[in-house]
């Protein structure tokens, strides 16, 4: 008896292991020419695991506080053995994770994987994307460098422009009227406790829903397969799909390692709250389309403040985006066309405004 089968027998005897992993063994993944889009969710999950691992390692040395944060990150990057690698991987993986999460979201839209009965899968996925962006926003400030300090100042100022509750939200986020050390410790708390807890919960829900409903098949193909079941092609999740996913994870790890080693994440200069804001303050790339839009909106739109209008429009659009699957069944395919149009528009808009944001002075 090999060690593996021995452990398996030991678990089976106590927990009925075979029954527990039974559904996993029966789980299948459809095979078609767009199957590779299925890997994106798994890659995002893999990058999240990397974030958790590297985040825990960074926690061993990181010290939140206006007088220590920058120095502790500097210490990690220069003195701690492989600290530079851990910090660089943490920063790069964060960005790659948000990128793959966005790509996953758009693949779900264009393959119409959100449709009934997977509305709640979409909803939990969207919440995970918002949480990931929250991770990005809170984590950006933690090194307490100049760019992050002023970007957070601008970002929280924008929050403050939300009508009625904006100011209270801004004070809550900042831990006061200004971005100070109190903001840093607060963001640290969000980043290492609140957001990970919520994310773990929603990851479980999301994975549970994916497991429960199985992988979605593009509608056209699904109809064909229903009409002639003999045409349907599937592969076992375990081990066939999982091994392929593992290959994708390895490739993602290679890309991540190359980025971390060739383009280590910069630390910049320590934030000085009394210094003037340097030129070129910009948020992380995934907030750029919103930031640039708010910059481009005229100061006054009719009788309202242009920026407030922009914030309200983004808020409303985000809310509709959350509810996207529920519009799919509007009469005679109108909903489907609407969602496709909205998806194409959103993708083009995000790409165009992000590029414009980086090119505009």
């Amino acid at each position: 008896m090999s060690l593996f089968t021995g452990v398996q027998a030991w678990l089976d005897e106590r927990f009925h292991w075979a029954e527990l992993i039974g559904p996993l063994k029966k789980k299948t993944v459809p095979i078609h020419k767009l199957s590779y889009w299925y890997f994106l969710g798994g890659i995002t999950l893999f990058l999240f695991f990397i974030q958790v691992g590297t985040g825990i390692l960074l926690l061993l040395y990181y010290r939140p506080g206006a007088n220590e944060a920058f120095e502790s990150v500097q210490y990690i990057m220069t003195r701690v053995q492989f600290g530079w690698l851990i910090r660089s991987i943490h920063s790069w993986a964060a960005n790659l994770m948000i990128f793959t999460a966005f790509a996953h979201m758009f693949s779900v839209i264009f393959l119409r994987a959100y449709r009934k009965p997977r509305e709640l899968t979409w909803l939990s996925g969207m919440i995970l994307l918002f949480l990931a962006m929250g991770f990005g926003f809170s984590g950006y400030l933690l090194p307490w460098n100049t760019l992050a300090f002023f970007a957070t100042k601008v970002g929280t100022e924008i929050t403050g422009r939300v009508p009625v509750i904006g100011h209270s939200m801004m004070v809550f986020l900042r831990g006061g009227e200004e971005v100070t050390g109190a903001t840093l410790t607060r963001f640290f708390g969000f980043h290492v406790a609140v957001l990970p807890g919520l994310t773990a919960l929603f990851v479980l829900i999301h994975l549970g829903l994916v497991q429960y409903f199985g992988m979605s098949v593009p509608p056209g193909l699904e109809s064909r397969w229903k009409a002639s079941p003999g045409e349907a092609r599937q592969m076992k999740f375990f081990p066939n799909f999982l091994l392929r996913e593992l290959m994708a994870w390895y490739i993602a790890l290679g890309v991540l390692g190359a980025l971390a080693a060739i383009l280590p994440w910069e630390l910049g200069t320590k934030a000085d709250p009394f210094a003037a804001a340097p030129a070129g303050i910009r948020p992380e790339w995934y907030f750029m389309f919103m930031f640039q839009t708010l910059k481009e909106i005229p100061a006054k739109l009719w009788f309202m403040d242009g920026e407030v209008v922009g914030i309200l429009v983004f808020g409303f659009a985000g809310f509709l985006w959350l509810l996207l699957p529920f519009f799919d069944r509007l009469g005679r395919g109108r909903g489907r066309r609407l969602i496709m149009g909205a998806g194409l528009f959103a993708l083009s808009y995000i790409i165009a405004l992000t590029i414009y944001g980086y090119m505009a002075k």
């Binding site: 500097q74 066939n240 392929r244 290679g254």
Partner: protein
């Protein structure tokens, strides 16, 4: 005039007239009829409401009558009657005393600007302008030539003729005019020279308002060329360390006994350019060799000091370049950058110490700088070595990852070759 100034009764009467005229203006501002006519007249009698409203005196509540007398509350020519105390156009010869009447009166000026000095008139009398003026030369500058009239702004206003950014231009108005300055037997190229100087660059180009302009060295109301003996004191207002070094040097006594004007001997005056190490050389910018003979003890010390400075400069630049390379490779070298700044400071210090003209002191600074530059270079080289190590590590990791991917691929093929996918 002296009699008049010393006559307490007359003086009191004049102040009373000015104050009462001012008070009249304050109460009858809406009835200042002077501008009704003078706003419509042609120059030089023209003074518009817009022009006068920008004048600091107007803003403080003074009126035309405060200087010119008369009664602006009255209409027509009655406003300018002798009975109303009208003095008409102020003669150029009366201007300093007229301005000084208020501006030399501390108690009066306290009402408007307690921090404003009240010694302008007494300083003016010590100036070259004031002395010539006292001799009856009315071509020389009086208050309004520098400060303007009717549209006079406070010196802190960037539009003021005496704002630091505009002073050189204001002085040059006369001093760069060869025909106007004819007869005074002084050069008229000061402004042209100053415009090429490091001081002008700091003030006008970099906007450093603390950088020197004409009045910084010559004084303003008491403007006069600094004498040979006082040049060092003028420069040392800003260049403190250079002054301390020069003070102890052998050149101080030598220049004094030769009647040479200290700093100016090597650096010139109005056209001071950015000093470089070439001043210690033998090329066109060389200054030492203008007095010293090749091969003498001083020349040998000069060579030693120049060699040391050049070594430190090269070491600093080399460390800077290697550090830049490490930084563009993404290495964290901010601490080394701080060390590099120290090496730069040591180089600057050595250049300042040159003013002691003592090789041992200069060598000490150079040695200190070389040590820091060497440490910085070592840190930069270590950073580059670390970068290479990381890249090798990455290469190794990528090979391992590639092998794992290929292994997985082969395993999947083998797995699916033996059994159908479902």
């Amino acid at each position: 005039m002296d009699t008049w100034r010393n006559n307490g009764f007359l003086r009191a009467l004049f102040v009373l007239l000015v104050v009462s005229a001012s008070a009249g203006k304050v109460f009858a501002q809406v009835q200042n009829t002077c501008l009704d006519c003078h706003g419509a007249l042609d120059p030089p009698l023209q003074v518009t409401e817009q022009q006068f409203s920008t004048d600091v005196h107007s803003q403080k509540g003074l009126t035309c009558a405060s200087c010119h007398g008369g009664d602006p509350a009255k209409a027509d020519m009655d406003a300018m009657s002798k009975a109303a105390g009208f003095r008409g156009k102020i003669q150029r010869s009366q201007i300093p005393e007229l301005c000084g009447h208020c501006h030399s009166d501390g108690a009066f000026m306290r009402n408007y600007n307690p921090s404003l000095q009240t010694d302008q008139l007494s300083q003016y009398k010590t100036s070259v302008h004031g002395k010539l003026f006292a001799k009856g030369d009315t071509k020389v500058a009086v208050c309004i030539d520098c400060h303007g009239v009717h549209g006079l702004r406070p010196a802190r206003d960037t539009r003021s003729k005496v704002h630091p950014l505009n002073i050189a231009q204001t002085c040059a108005h006369c001093h760069a005019d060869a025909s106007y300055m004819k007869g005074y037997r002084i050069p008229t190229d000061q402004f042209a020279q100053y415009s090429t100087s490091v001081h002008h660059d700091a003030l006008a180009v970099r906007g450093d308002l603390s950088a020197p302009t004409c009045t910084t060295c010559h004084g303003n109301h008491g403007a006069a060329p600094p004498g040979v003996d006082s040049v060092q004191n003028v420069c040392s207002k800003c260049h403190v360390f250079q002054d301390q070094m020069y003070e102890k040097s052998t050149h101080k006594a030598a220049f004094q006994s030769a009647g040479l004007p200290g700093c100016v001997v090597c650096h010139s005056n109005h056209g001071i350019t950015h000093p470089t190490d070439a001043k210690l050389g033998t090329g066109p910018q060389a200054t030492c060799m203008q007095c010293h003979k090749p091969g003498d003890v001083c020349d040998q010390a000069r060579v030693e000091m120049l060699t040391g400075l050049t070594r430190l400069d090269e070491a600093f630049k080399n460390a800077h370049n290697v550090l830049g390379l490490a930084e563009t490779s993404g290495m964290e070298v901010s601490q080394a950058r701080l060390d590099e700044d120290q090496a730069g400071d040591a180089l600057t210090k050595a250049r300042v110490t040159i003013h002691s003209f003592r090789q041992d002191l200069v060598d000490h600074d150079i040695k200190e700088g070389l040590q820091i530059a060497s440490k910085t270079l070592q840190t930069a080289q270590n950073a580059l070595a670390e970068r290479d190590y990381r890249r090798k590590g990455l290469g190794l990791a990528l090979v391992f990852i590639l092998m794992s991917v290929v292994g997985l691929f082969l395993y999947i093929r083998q797995l699916e070759g033996h059994a159908p996918k479902v």
